[in-house]
Symmetry: none
Subunit: 434 residues, 2 copies
């Protein structure tokens, strides 16, 4: 099956929003074995939308639209799609009841304009929206299909998975399966060099990517069945494991935080954090994972220097002698968090996120991380290489936080004597003020 | 001038990369007064690319392509564009010298395949690439233009600004300016209803959007000069202000956190937080804003129930009697954070992010927020209406955090006697354990 994507929204044409739906749908349709050979963006303009749909239907089996299902007058996707297939819109009682209930749950009355969202093309397969008000739908005419999904990514993704995938399944053949091998602590080029010969394989293919300071390999196999695809993937993934070893932190895990939380759960450990420059990003990412309450006890966001002393017991002299961004302050923050949290392991970070340098002239992109279980203290200096400029603050904070998560993971994974890369620092934990 | 964007690359169709070029170019072209009414994505396939170009040229004055300028066999954009205009490719000596020098600077010999990048359409205006090897170009035939830019965003953006903008300038007239009016605490439909008649204005246009629990209006004016565009915008924005009043938290501010941090700076106030369900997201968002160190003192992420007692002094009996997700616990968390932080205002949140219900059977989407300056305590119960399902946890946490930021903002904005919506709760701050 071939499918074209049509994204409807003047906000896309004006560049007001980034079209993340394009990537999501392209990736998912490829995995389903649906061939996407065209994507288009048009505004909320009925003539241009109709023309775009006609062209798309003339060359593809299906068209999938997102956007333009809102309650306002300029939301016209459903109307135009129905007209292209010569279908009338009719009120759908079930959808209207669901929209009314959506507002009732929020304790507000449904604005009359939302009733428009329950108008659906006659004979369409209706897609429930479990995350918003606008239902989607699918319709078929002369073997051609139009699928209509809402624009907000959260609503679109859920509806795609819950309704569009089952609708499309009977028309797809074969499967494309891919696995992501996630690494940390190695650059994309260095990773790619170690598997250079595998990058020219044809089935499965092996492709390197870099994302927010992480490098990953995507291994993709095409086959008639999932079992056959997996049989193609297994030996190549095994070979990559033997080449990359410890830098791999997970295969098909969604993120470093997911890997770290899963490992702490498995080992029955708990954690605590003390964050300065990342200021909550580490605990935010840990708690993105449902069930994080089993492992996270608490976190301290000590942004002002004096709160590191007041809340964590960092010594005034240490800050004065070493500055606030130093290995010693990170170590005392970690020990302070460990003592106050009752957690098995505590990790702390202090650093320079940017955009500007600090008062001593050190550039952004530098951070010190420490972690402790009350027995040994491990530290790590991080240099991201992003010393300023647009986006440096975001990039540095993301990479810093990933390093903190990785330090927690390494603590849970290795006994002190087997942990690769360095030695714990010499620090008398008991000597710290309580 | 109307311009269509054609993005060339199989990696876009497979969803392997996010098309950030689309947003960048759309935004910049709008600002230049160039009307972008269509965008397309096609793979590295000469027939489909030629067809897409023909359609685009038939309805627009100019087509701008990105991608497909690499040294490999499947990079065909220049070849196909030249063929569509009936032009031959010729070696360009200057470009070849620049590409050779690019490799020399890196201390490596130019791979022979890169010579292909110096082949350019006869008579084209050549765009130098100061950040990579592939030059771009522009060509004109019968009043229609094709502009060709490389795919990597860094190369594309620089070439667009340095070469494409000067090329397009003579054909553009006027500017498009838009302003975002951001609201909180009102749904998109309710907001749209209050300005319903303005939504059919033609210049400026007024369009409603919803994003992560916020509703906003985008007002866009087209005029000969920026001053004239601003003169068109001003009265409409004034009218919207008079209709929406207090629910507007900013015009052309990037986010609630930016508005809140700016207000605290302006008033010389500091803040602290105590977060349970959002677990650092509030402080993360505050510190996304450079210079947040002027206003944020510290934050407590008290995820495990007993850490609310140990770190914030929440009374054990309060948790036992009211459960951990309650107005009283939020109030005691806020008071505890205020006492320990030395901040002017502290805000706290405890809630159910989901995906599942709590042990008492209450659904996700419920949170209690409290804020205090040590004199009065304000509380707010939030119901997001997202009680479960994919994405509910992310959505709830985002909306919860925005509410906390808004409560801080309201605290800084109003004296207790003028603050709209309710009364402070009756809570003896001094009575709390220190």
């Amino acid at each position: 099956m071939t499918c074209e994507l049509v994204f409807v929204g003047t906000e896309l044409l004006l560049g007001d929003i980034l079209n993340t739906n394009a990537q999501y749908l392209s990736k998912r349709l490829a995995a389903l074995g649906v061939s996407v050979v065209h994507q288009s963006v048009v505004g909320d303009n009925p003539e241009r939308l109709a023309e775009t749909l006609q062209i798309a239907l003339s060359r593809s089996d299906a068209v999938l639209t997102t956007g333009g299902l809102g309650p306002t007058k300029d939301d016209l996707t459903k109307e135009v799609c129905a007209a292209v297939f010569g279908l009338a819109l009719e009120p759908d009682a079930r959808s209207l009841a669901r929209i009314t209930a959506f507002f009732e749950n929020k304790g507000i009355e449904m604005p009359p304009s939302n009733a428009k969202q329950a108008m659906l093309p006659r004979g369409a397969v209706i897609f429930d929206n479990n995350n918003g008000t606008a239902p989607g739908c699918a319709m078929e005419k002369d073997g051609k299909h139009i699928l209509i999904l809402p624009g907000p990514p959260r609503e679109m993704q859920a509806m795609f998975e819950e309704s569009a995938v089952p609708y499309l399944k009977p028309f797809t053949s074969g499967v494309i399966l891919s696995k992501e091998i996630r690494t940390f602590g190695i650059g994309e080029s260095a990773m790619a060099q170690r598997v250079d010969d595998l990058l020219s394989l044809e089935n499965p293919t092996v492709a390197p990517y870099a994302k927010s300071g992480e490098a990953l390999l995507r291994v993709t196999a095409k086959a008639e069945t999932a079992a056959e695809a997996n049989a193609l993937l297994a030996p190549v993934i095994g070979e990559i494991h033997s080449r990359l070893g410890d830098v791999i932190y997970g295969v098909d895990v969604p993120s470093m935080e997911a890997a770290t939380v899963a490992l702490f759960k498995e080992k029955g450990l708990t954690m605590a954090t003390a964050e300065s420059c990342t200021a909550g990003l580490v605990t935010k990412r840990i708690t993105d994972i449902p069930g994080a309450s089993e492992v996270l006890r608490c976190g301290f966001v000590t942004y002002a220097a004096d709160t590191k002393e007041a809340l964590l017991g960092v010594k005034h002299e240490t800050i004065k002698a070493q500055t606030v961004v130093s290995e010693a302050v990170a170590a005392e923050m970690a020990i302070g968090a460990w003592k106050r949290s009752g957690a098995s392991v505590a990790a702390a970070i202090t650093g320079l996120a940017g955009p500007g340098p600090d008062e001593t002239g050190r550039s952004a992109g530098l951070a010190y991380i420490a972690s402790t279980d009350g027995k040994t203290v491990w530290t790590k200096a991080v240099q991201t290489g992003h010393a300023g400029g647009k986006g440096c603050r975001d990039y540095n904070r993301t990479v810093f936080a990933t390093h903190v998560l990785n330090e927690l993971r390494l603590f849970a994974l290795f006994a002190p004597e087997t942990r690769p890369g360095g030695q714990p620092i010499d620090y008398d934990v008991k000597d710290m003020t309580a």
